[in-house]
Structures are given as C-alpha cells and as structure tokens.
C-alpha cells in the first residue's frame, strides 16, 4: 500500500509528537529547587529512605538511579564509564568497593576530602581522597541449625572442602560476580594466587553448589535445602529477622580473619552539581546515616567505635568479628583481574 | 440426485456488506436430477454464492436439509465434510495453491485413488484442458486463462457428481470466455456431472442451460424443468 506524499507529511508530524512531549520538561525554565544526581549500587529499599531524609533536611532534590542485581553490577559502573565525556551523575554510592576503585582507575572520579571522613579509620579513606568507605557487611557462614549443631559447625572456608560435609548441601554465590568475587580477590591477596586458585578449583571439583546470588544462598539455607553457605551479613540478618532456623558464623577467626566489605561513596568528575554532590557525600558519611543504615539492616559492621560515634550500634548481630582481614582495599582490587580470569576458567565451562 | 429441503442461512449483522440480520438464503427447496444443468442468476447480495457454499458443505444451514442421493449431507448443526460430497467448486478467482505445481494442484483430490488410475486420470484431464505442457509450472508462471483452466481441471479431476460454478468467467475477455465455456460444458459432460452455474450474464446462462432460476433476497424462483433430457 503506497503512502502518498500528503499522508507522509501527516505521519511525520504524528511521529514527532511522542518524541517532543518528554522533552518539554527539559525546555521549561529550570526549577528553583537545587538538584543532585546519585547513582546507587545499594538496594533501593535501604538507600531510598536515606536519600529522602537528605531531601527533607536540605531541600535539595535527589535524582537517583538504582542498579539491579540481575545486571551483576555491570549496569551503573558501565554507564558511568560510558558517560565520562558528559557526566550526568554527581555522586556514586556503592555497597562494595571494587567497582569504585575501578572507576577511580578509569578517571571517572574526582577527589573530595569530606570533613566527615576525619572520624573514619585511615584504611577506609583513599590517600588521595577519591573515595571514602564506611560501614561494612561481613562475609559469613550461614548455617541451618536444624541440620547442624552450633558446636559442630564449620569455622572457616577450608571447611567447605571438609569431606564430612556433603558438597551438594553447601552453597555459595557465583564467584564471578558481586561480593563473592570480591571475597575471592581478597583470598588471592592474602593467600597468593596459586593457593587461592587451588581452593576454588577444589570447590568446583567437589561439586559445591554455585547459586545465583547471596540471597539465594540465604533462602536455601533457611529452607533447609543447604546445610550451610557463604553469604553477606545483610542477607543473613534477613533470614534471622524472618525467624528462620539459622545462625551466623564469622569464618577464620583463628587465622586470616573475616572479610568485611564496606560501602563506598565518591564524587564524579565533571558532574553537573558538584556543590550539592559534596553536601550529599558529607551526609552519607555522617554517623547518623551510618546508624540508620545499621538499624535498617543494610550493613551490620560499624565504622566508628563508640568513642567517636556513641549512637552507632551493631544491629542484628550479637557481636562483631574479633578478627577481620586487614589487607588494604587497593591490594584486593589489584587481584581482581587475576581472580576473575581464573574463576572464569574454573566455573564457566 | 441433489435435494434441498427448506434450506435457510442467516449471517450476523456485522457481516461483509453490513446487512441486517436478513437471511442470505431463505427457505430454498429444489431437486437437481443427475446430469442436469441449472443456471441461477440474481443481483449481487441475493445469496447465490451462499447457496453454492451450502451445497458444497462450506457453510452450515440454519434450517432445512441437503441430501445427496437420499443421503443426508447437511442439517442444522451438522455437515458431511465437503470432500465426501463428491462436488467440485469453481470460485470467482482461480484459488490455486502457490507452493504446488499445476500437476500437484490438479492431482490433489486424487489422493485416495490408486496410483495407476490416478495417473491415467491426470493424463486425461490434462489433455482435455490442454494443460499437459504446463504441468510442471507453478501458479505464478501462469496467465489468467491458464490459471482458470487449472482450477477447472482440479475441480473435475476426481469426477465429481456435481459441479458448482460461482461466476467462473468474470473478468475474462469474450474470446477467452467462449473458450472456457466450451471447455466447461465438454468436460462436465465427459464426467457425467450435474452442473449449477451462477452468473450475472443472462446471455452466458442461456448458452449453458435453458433451465434457469433466479435468486432474490435469498429466495430462489425456479422455472419449470424444460425437458426430461439434460440440456
């Protein structure tokens, strides 16, 4: 059916309308309210209330973009790198640190020394102030107490290879992504690549179950489909809060210690609202936000001791890990590529 | 013999020509003896095509019965499948299957025949309709006249007892019309089939048969049967 010239012109006009309509807000005079844009790789459920409170307190409107688990943390980080020539975001808030260090390496970040960072431990602040870390989620072993007695529970990662446990009843999230990948890189940094590689090869050889995420590990341990698994404290605390028959074990308290993965926040280079971005970073690093995030259950390990921030508590945990891994975050980050390369060979086949 | 007994058919109000819920075919009754030709004329929308489709088993009557040789073929709510009625149908357009060759189109209805007999029949019908040289072609390689001959050959190949033609010569030039008409009558006679021929053209109808009927608003008015022998 031929379209005549007249119909063509009519249709062209009709075609432009749906395109023009959404542009109208951009053409109107800028709203008087100041704005800050933040890209957030933290669960929206936890981050949104914090950001709303910032809006109420400061009158600065927060425009947030949240990452999703299914994108395996590639979403927002790749967006930030792709937008580097014309950044849209002012602040990046992540639930871990490796992607933040990657952004630093790519030149996406700009230094900002927040006044709030002076009350934080030195190892959580980048020497050049490109990023600041706060709060923490520990990597823990979650056991099903209907299946395992606490006295007989596994105490470290080496127990994942112990023949007394059936491998099909042990689980961990895919070590190619997320905090499990970070944990793998930490093992590479502590034990050396050869030993760490062998550990994961042995895990794969045993047939330990690899699952789609920490929340899946949590759910399966809580349901009794697994005896124990490796997950984060926020997921573990979620199971406890739901009344599941589970208990949390801090792994390797007698040896290397437990890995605690902090949140990180950073200022984006060339962001459209740098002043508002700095204010938001100050707010996120404040003790009150740390306390709020602990009480909401996002992270469980406080950054500040009682001496520096009496309001901060330990949330769902009865106690904190006595021994934590003290390898610098940058060292863990530098092992990431080697770890991912080895793990891809081992697990993606 | 074909017998229609008080056959009616209604279409829904939202049908093709936006009719009210009128009857497309309204209490039609007649019998068609073997080897006779009946010409039905009428204006557009009078129900001629619907009548043919009811006889062919492509529509279900709302009332009445249709019998073939005293065997019930259609009642309200039930129809004998079309391929079991031994009817051939020529539509207004050729309606050839584009993915089948001329030979395959024509031999489609001979699936139940034994191979040898089917081959002999095919040779016969191709010869009669002058399609032997075109047997290997596909529909898009045929002219309009050739396509019509193929559809005629396909309808007659299984030697139907009754041939239904729905304005088969529409849009043909006079020479081709005459040629097709001669072919239709010859081949129909050769298989000994009865013929119901629907047309607008009174002259054309007279060439086919002198037993005529007229459809108007779904009702069929038949002239008395002119002669004991078929036309």
């Amino acid at each position: 059916m031929k379209i005549q010239w007249t119909e063509f012109r009519i249709l062209t006009v009709m075609l432009l309308l749906p395109l023009l309509l959404p542009l109208l807000p951009a053409c109107t005079p800028q709203a008087e309210k100041p704005v800050v844009v933040i890209y957030v790789s933290v669960d929206q459920v936890y981050a949104e209330p914090i950001l709303k409170r910032f809006e109420e307190q400061t009158g600065i409107r927060v425009l947030a973009v949240y990452d999703v688990e299914a994108s395996k943390t590639t979403g927002l980080v790749n967006r930030l790198i792709a937008e580097q020539g014309q950044p849209q975001a002012d602040v990046f808030w992540s639930g871990e640190f490796v992607q933040t260090l990657l952004l630093q390496q790519e030149g996406v970040l700009t230094p900002y020394a927040s006044p709030e960072s002076t009350s934080l431990p030195d190892h959580l602040v980048d020497p050049n102030h490109y990023w600041t870390a706060f709060g923490g989620r520990a990597r823990v072993i979650l056991i099903n107490t209907d299946r395992i007695l606490l006295s007989e529970a596994p105490r470290g990662l080496a127990d994942f290879l112990d023949p007394r446990w059936q491998p099909e009843r042990i689980g961990l999230a895919n070590p190619l992504f997320g905090t499990t990948c970070t944990h793998a890189a930490a093992l590479y940094a502590i034990q050396g690549p050869a030993v760490a590689r062998q550990f994961f090869a042995d895990l794969a050889g045993r047939g330990v179950r690899i699952l789609d995420g920490n929340s899946v590990v949590r759910d399966m341990v809580a349901a009794g489909q697994l005896d124990f698994g490796l997950t984060d404290t926020d997921d573990a605390c979620g199971a406890l809060a739901n009344g599941a028959p589970v208990a949390i074990i801090y792994p390797d308290q007698d040896s290397t210690g437990t890995l605690v993965i902090p949140n990180t926040v950073a200022l984006i280079a060339g962001g459209p609202h740098p002043q508002e971005g700095r204010l938001l970073i100050d707010y996120l690093l404040s003790p009150s936000v740390e306390a709020a995030l602990i009480s909401s259950g996002w992270f469980q390990i406080p950054t500040r001791t009682e001496a520096t921030a009496p309001a901060v508590g330990t949330g769902c945990l009865d106690s904190l890990p006595q021994r934590m891994i003290t390898v610098p975050l940058a060292d863990i980050y530098h092992q990431l590529e080697a770890a991912k390369s080895d793990l891809t060979e081992i697990y993606l086949r | 013999m074909l017998l229609l007994d008080n056959v009616s058919k209604c279409y829904e109000p939202s049908a093709a020509r936006a009719m009210d819920a009128a009857r497309a075919v309204d209490t039609v009754s007649f019998s068609l003896p073997d080897q006779t030709c009946l010409v039905i004329s009428g204006h557009s929308g009078s129900g001629k095509t619907t009548l043919l489709r009811l006889i062919a088993g492509l529509e279900v009557p709302d009332t009445g019965r249709i019998l073939f040789n005293d065997r019930i073929a259609s009642t309200p709510g039930w129809v004998l499948p079309p391929h079991q009625r031994q009817v051939g149908f020529l539509f207004q357009t050729p309606v050839l299957w584009p993915h089948l060759s001329v030979y395959q189109n024509i031999s489609f209805g001979l699936g139940d025949w034994d191979r040898r007999t089917a081959r002999q029949r095919m040779d016969e019908i191709l010869e009669q309709t002058k399609l032997t040289a075109l047997a290997g072609r596909h529909p898009h390689q045929l002219s309009g006249g050739e396509a019509r001959r193929v559809s005629l050959a396909r309808a007659l190949a299984p030697k139907p007892a009754c041939l239904l033609l729905d304005e088969p010569l529409t849009h043909l030039d006079p020479d081709l019309k005459a040629e097709m008409l001669t072919l239709i009558l010859e081949t129909t006679r050769s298989v000994g089939a009865s013929l119901i021929y629907v047309t607008h053209d009174a002259t054309e109808g007279q060439l086919v048969s002198n037993w005529t009927g007229c459809m108007s608003h779904g009702r069929l008015t038949l002239q008395p049967f002119p002669d004991p022998r078929p036309a």
Binding site: M1, K2, I3, W5, F8, L11, L15, P18, L19, L21, P22, L23, P25, A26, V37, I38, V45, E69, A70, S71, T74, G75, L76, R79, A82, Q88, N174, L176, S215, R218, D235, K340, T344, L348, R349 | S14, A15, A16, A18, G57, L58, V79, P81, P82, H83, R85, F91, T93, V95, W97, P98, G109, G111, P139, H140, Q141, L142, S143, G144, A147
Partner: protein, 539 residues
C-alpha cells in the same frame, strides 16, 4: 500518465531512518571494537572461541535450538486448536494466551522454582525423589514455558496469513488432516520458521535464567567479561561468534518474513482473494484424526499450565489484597512512568513500522540486505544497545535528549522496531491495494482517507504490533537500566530491585501488576476497536 509530477523517493527515507535506528547502535559498537583492536591487537583473539568458550557456545546453541524447536512444536498444535475455534471465542482466547508475554523470564524462573518446591514437598512425603530445576533441564523447561505464549501467538499470526479460500478448495478435495498438512502448514511455513528463529534468538541472548539455574552459557560468559573489564568493545568482540550465529538465523528468518511481507500474487495466478483478511467466515471445523486432537489438547494443557502456575504462584505470594494495594501504592510513580514509556514506544514503533513496512513491501526488488539490516537489533544483547545509545547521544547537541525521559523510549524503539516493521509489512501486503486506490478516487481529503480507509484496513496489524511492543517495553530491563534518567524508574526495575532484597510478596504484587496492565491495555484496545467498528458499521 503524462503530466504526473514525480515525487522524490521519500518512502525510502524512512526505511533509511529505520536502518539507522536499528543498525546505528551495532555500528557504534563495531567502531569501538575496531578502535580497541587497533590499540590492543590481542583483543582480536576474543573473536575466535577457545575450547572452553566453544563448549559454552555449544551449551547456548543447544539450549536455544531445543527451546525454539520444542517451543514451536508445542505452540503449533495449541495455536491450531485456537485457530479452529469459532471466531468470537478465538478472538478473545488468542489474546488471553499472550498476557504472560511481558512477564520477564527471570520471574518465570522464580515462579517455577517456588512451584517445584511445593511439588517436592509432596513428592518427599510420598517417598519419591524430588525434581530439580537446576542445570540444562530446568533452564530448558523455564525458557520453554516463558516463550510458549509467543510461540502460540506466532502460530496464530502465521495461520492468519493463509487464504481461507485455499483451505476451502482443499476441503472439497481431501480430508481435513491432508488439507492441514499439504495446504495450511506449507502456506504458513515461512512465518512459522521465522518464529522459530525468533525464539532461538530470544533464548540465545538471555543470561538471567541460565545464571539463576546454574547453567553456564555463552551469554553468561559475555556478561562475566563485561563485568570483569567494563569494556564494551571487548564484550562486543567476545559476542561476535554468537552474533554470527544470530545473524545467520536472522538471514533465515527474514527470508520467511519477506515472503509474507512483500507483494505475492500476480494477476491471474497464485492464491485467491487479497481481501481474505477481512473475511469473517470461520474456518469450518474439519475432522482431524484422534491422535492429533489428543496432541492439540496436550499442547493446550501446557499453555494453560504456563498461565495458571505463574498466576497462582504470584497470587499466593502476594498473600492478601491489602499487601497488593500497598505494593501498588508504593510503586505508583513507576507504574505511571512505565505506562507512558510503553505507550510512547508502541506509538513510535507503530508509525515508524508503518512507514518502513510500507517502503519495504512496495517491491519484490527490495534486497535481502535491507530486511536483514532492519531486523539486526534482534541479535544484539540489550545492555550493548544501551551502551551504544549512550555513545551516540550523550554529547552535544543531543545532551538535551539524553537527559530526558525519552531515552528509554529510544532504547525500546531501537530494540523492538523490527517487530513492528515485520507486522506492519505483513498487514500491508495482505491488504488489497485497490481498496486504497478506490479511496483515492472517491475522496480528496487525505485525513479523511487516513482515518476512514487506511487505519481500519491496517487495524489488525496495528493492534498486534501495539500489544507486542507494549508488552516487550513493559518488561525491558538491560537497555533501560543504562539510559533511564536519574529520578525515574520503571516497574521492571523496581521488581528486580525487590527481587534481590527478597521481598517476594512485593515482587509477586508487581508481577501481577505487569500482567494486569497488559490485560487492561489489551481490553481497552480491543474494545475500543470493536466500538469504533460498530460505530462505523465496518466489518
């Protein structure tokens, strides 16, 4: 005719625009990959799969091939069963089958995992071994269930392209099963084969379900690479083997599409009336062998299962009406934005698809390359399209567009325009051009011609394209995440966020909302169309 002014080839301008929209993102990625290779020549090795990657590629191809073939083999009898129903029932059923098309595969996976858990409880209590949905088998089952509605929809579309007159002639000469096998299926084969190709492509580029069920696939490897290096160029190079396969499948798909989307019969030959698409004559129920009827019933039962299980599981997970209302209220801004976004994408795709489809259906001389280019986005993973859009638009003078709410609309159009083009070209081809010529003669007012003649004639294609694009946009995630403006979120994004959080009740509520939105959109479109027809007293 002497004195007739010559018009420029303006129709092909829109074909060109469609090619730019469809091929542009891929071209940008290719350029980035070439730049990367020049700087790092060893990257070129990524194009040739290693032994490990070859195994993963085989995993992906075998899974995709199996899902596609089995999907169409089950969709076909189910579609046939619906097609042979009386027209009124058919019109409702054929759209109801499609209501779960927008449900993301990841949600299908979670639904079936929950269902399997329930089944296993029963099996264990009976002392029977539990069923496991992990690995190849589970992934196959879930992808099959997720794509089954699409397979049925494609079958119905394919069967509608068969001229009823050719079926009737066949019925006069042979039993129903013979007509089915020798007339109906060969006539609809091009589109059925194209549909199989589409199912193959959709399975090939999905990594979410295999990831959830522990099956390592090539798509997951690409994602792992992307995650490890954050280099789209490397990910694109790694995707090349899969892309080559996808492009070969597309070649096969588009040859079938061209057959239905370009002018067919020459005068005097070929298959019957071109106005057959307006015939309301229902296909007379022809008797089929008993074993085939059983097969149809089994297929229909499977289709019913894949509607009932997700629906029941989602409703069960929601728990109560109050919780459902709460999750809806909390997501109201996402619901509003998603509705607007899906409507805008559907409208844009319809118009562009009409213009492009019109240009492509004009002549037999349109080359295969043009069709291939227009359908190219179907082979590209969504996140790569998102990255490419950022590369294309996030710099002056387009920054205004990039910062606007239109970006996800553009992402949806980039991904789904091929579907609209195919459907509109097919509809245009099925419509008698003489009908428009007659309107040209009778009516000088172009708007009146458009409203009273063209739109009603093209309405079936419009409806099909509108519902399909609306559904696909509703559930789009990979590209949307990368281009959505700050401060906005879609319903699908919210669902995925809650999935990770483990709020299964909220996820179930929002999943039901997705389905509800589609059913509502379908009802509004179909009822509005029926009302309009009734007012106009058109068939």
């Amino acid at each position: 005719m002497p004195g007739q002014p010559r018009r420029p080839g303006f129709q092909f301008l829109w074909v060109l625009a469609a090619i730019v929209i469809c091929v542009g993102p891929v071209a940008l990625l290719l350029l980035a990959a070439l730049r990367g290779v020049i700087q790092h020549p060893d990257w070129l090795l990524l194009v040739w799969p290693s032994e490990r990657r070859a195994r993963l590629l085989w995993n992906s191809l075998s899974l995709s091939g199996s899902v596609a073939v089995v999907g169409m083999l089950t969709g076909l009898p189910a579609g046939l069963a619906i097609w042979r129903l009386p027209t009124r029932i058919k019109r409702v059923l054929q759209w109801l089958v499609l209501i779960f098309v927008p449900l993301p595969p990841y949600i299908h996976a979670l639904v079936w995992l929950a269902a399997a858990q329930g089944i296993n409880t029963v099996l264990l209590s009976l002392g029977l071994p539990p069923i496991s949905l992990q690995g190849w088998g589970g992934t196959f089952w879930i992808q099959w269930m997720a794509l089954l509605p699409l397979a049925v929809g494609i079958t119905l579309l394919a069967l509608q392209t068969v001229d009823p007159a050719t079926i009737e002639v066949g019925q006069l000469l042979a039993p129903g099963f013979s007509v089915l096998g020798r007339i109906v299926l060969p006539s609809s084969a091009p589109l059925l084969l194209s549909g199989t190709g589409f199912l193959f492509l959709l399975t090939l580029i999905d990594h979410s379900v295999p990831g959830l069920l522990g099956l390592n696939t090539y798509a997951l490897d690409i994602f792992a690479e992307f995650s490890a290096t954050n280099q789209p160029a490397r990910a694109f190079l790694l995707a090349v083997p899969g892309l080559v396969v996808s492009l070969l499948v597309l070649l096969g798909v588009q040859s079938g599409i061209r057959r239905i989307a370009q002018p067919g019969a020459q005068p005097g030959a070929g298959s019957g009336s071109q106005s057959g698409n307006w015939s309301r004559r229902s296909i007379l129920h022809f008797p089929l062998p008993g074993w085939f009827l059983v097969l149809e019933q089994l297929a229909v039962a499977l289709v019913t299962l894949q509607i009932i299980v997700p629906l029941a599981t989602l409703v069960g997970e929601v728990g109560s009406v109050d919780r459902f209302k709460q999750s809806l209220f909390a997501a109201r801004s996402e619901i509003n934005y998603t509705l607007w976004l899906s409507l805008a994408a559907a409208l844009l795709c319809l118009i562009l698809g009409w213009l492009t489809g019109s240009g492509l259906s004009q002549s037999r001389r349109q080359s295969a390359v043009v069709w291939w280019l227009v359908t190219l986005p179907l082979a590209v993973p969504a996140p790569l399209i998102g990255i490419a859009l950022i590369m294309a638009i996030n710099h002056p003078p387009w920054s205004l567009v990039y910062a606007s709410a239109a970006m996800p609309v553009l992402a949806a159009v980039s991904r789904f325009l091929p579907f609209a083009t195919i459907l509109m070209a097919a509809q245009i081809n099925r419509t008698d051009p003489l009908l428009l010529d007659a309107a040209q003669i009778a009516c000088a007012n172009p708007i009146r011609r458009l409203v009273k003649i063209q739109l009603p004639l093209l309405a079936p294609g419009f409806l099909a394209a509108a519902i399909l694009i609306f559904s696909l946009t509703l559930s789009e995630l990979g590209a949307t995440l990368l281009v959505i403006p700050p401060g906005r979120a879609t319903l699908t994004l919210r669902i995925y966020n809650y999935l990770h959080y483990g709020a299964s009740a909220e996820v179930a509520g929002l999943g039901l909302m997705l389905v509800g939105v589609l059913v509502l959109a379908f009802l509004l479109l179909v009822l509005g169309y029926s009302l309009w027809l009734r007012l106009r007293r058109v068939e």
